[in-house]
């Protein structure tokens, strides 16, 4: 998949060694356009909203709040929501609480492997402003510097009901076509990448993980 390296539409992948660079795709992602026929786009958005698959990647303590949603008491599957163990097939990434720098690297990899349209719900206070880890040496303070966030749920920790309410609100947003975080990410890729590389000191992965 390695294309012309001098072209403008490639990433540098400078974190990789010369022979590793041959193994990874270096194409630059492009923003996608909605379907030109409005009815098709509306139908697609409706389908997306009613079939949200959550990536099973708990990043911090708040992700414990995800489990009750699967149980008999809340039963999130009523709303077409299911867990999905692989980023390729999931569409919602729930950032479950504090994000350490080490985890952030994995989150970026997983997020970039998800197929658009993809949405991020930031759960808890920590991704919003650092929360109780605001002075920690390895926990980021503002998650939206690194990846685009569609919905914040504050609280330490938020109750499962709060998360459920956020998912419901996200569904409404998707239906009207507001959630285009993946596009924002691609359009401002250089800004996001600069922020990511500022905190992730050992960047030993491709610039965009296809």
């Amino acid at each position: 998949m390695s294309k012309d390296r001098s072209s403008k539409n490639t990433m540098e992948n400078s974190g990789l060694s010369a022979d590793e660079q041959l193994l990874f795709c270096n194409a630059r992602p492009e923003p996608y356009k909605p379907y030109s026929i409005k009815a098709v786009e509306d139908f697609a958005n409706w389908a997306r909203a009613n079939s949200l698959w959550i990536l099973a990647f708990g990043t911090g303590c708040c992700s414990i709040e995800l489990r009750p949603l699967m149980t008999a008491r809340f039963d999130i599957s009523r709303f077409g929501i299911a867990g999905r163990p692989t980023p390729r097939q999931s569409s919602v990434f729930i950032i479950g609480g504090y994000v350490s720098v080490k985890t952030l690297k994995r989150i970026i990899r997983s997020y970039e492997q998800m197929q658009g349209p993809k949405f991020i719900i930031a759960l808890g206070s920590c991704p919003a402003n650092g929360g109780m880890y605001f002075d920690s040496y390895n926990t980021i303070n503002q998650f939206d510097l690194y990846l685009p966030v569609d919905m914040y749920v504050t609280g330490c920790m938020p109750r499962p009901e709060a998360l459920l309410a956020a998912i419901m609100e996200l569904k409404e947003d998707i239906k009207v076509g507001n959630c285009d975080g993946a596009n924002r990410y691609v359009e401002n890729l250089d800004w996001y990448k600069a922020n990511q590389k500022k905190v992730i000191k050992n960047w030993d992965m491709p610039d965009y993980n296809w």
């Binding site: 080490k102 919003a128 402003n129 605001f134 002075d135 040496y137 390895n138």
Partner: protein, 179 residues
């Protein structure tokens, strides 16, 4: 226990013995004697289990205190062997030959405090922090708040309240402070 401690005092020059809890005793030993003492405790006295190795930073005295917590399954007693080492050029004998798991602790101590354990396996590799380029974060001269604000930024609008005052004002506004 007391006979053991008496014998150790003559053989290894331990000092500063104190009973922290009924079954936990700590003692101090010089850096040069430490490995010999631990080996003796493991091989002769039944302290076969290494609970953990940790470090306390006494920045005022310019020392690190390493604590080797050993456990004896025979009489269910725990012995903490404390070793003072110099804060500058901190270095200690590796005990990974006694317990294989010790090198994990030693890797962590090197990363978090900057203590060298010559000969310990995989010392140079990252343990928890990936690509750390500042002074080791658990040293007390490292200011986490400054580092966090410089590196990760500060969200505008975030305010920190004193919990006690804040709760007084929010939860018990009528009591006027003496609750």
């Amino acid at each position: 226990m007391n006979t053991l401690l008496d014998r150790l005092a003559t053989d290894f020059g331990i000092y500063d013995i104190s009973d922290r809890k009924p079954a936990i005793t700590t003692l101090k030993v010089e850096k040069q004697q430490a490995e010999r003492l631990i080996r003796e405790l493991r091989d002769r006295e039944g302290y076969t289990h290494l609970n953990f190795i940790t470090c306390i930073d006494y920045i005022e005295q310019g020392i690190f205190t390493l604590v080797y917590m050993l456990h004896n399954y025979g009489d269910k007693s725990t012995l903490g062997v404390e070793v003072d080492i110099d804060r500058e050029n901190a270095e200690m004998t590796s005990i990974h030959t006694l317990w294989a798991q010790a090198w994990t602790y030693q890797r962590e101590l090197r990363e978090m405090f900057g203590i060298n354990f010559p000969g310990s396996p995989r010392q140079e590799e990252d343990f928890c922090l990936e690509g750390w380029d500042d002074i080791p974060p658990m040293r007390r001269e490292f200011n986490t708040k400054t580092y966090s604000t410089e590196t990760f930024g500060h969200r505008e609008g975030r305010v920190s309240e004193d919990p006690r005052e804040h709760m007084k004002a929010q939860l018990y506004p009528t009591r006027g402070g003496d609750n």
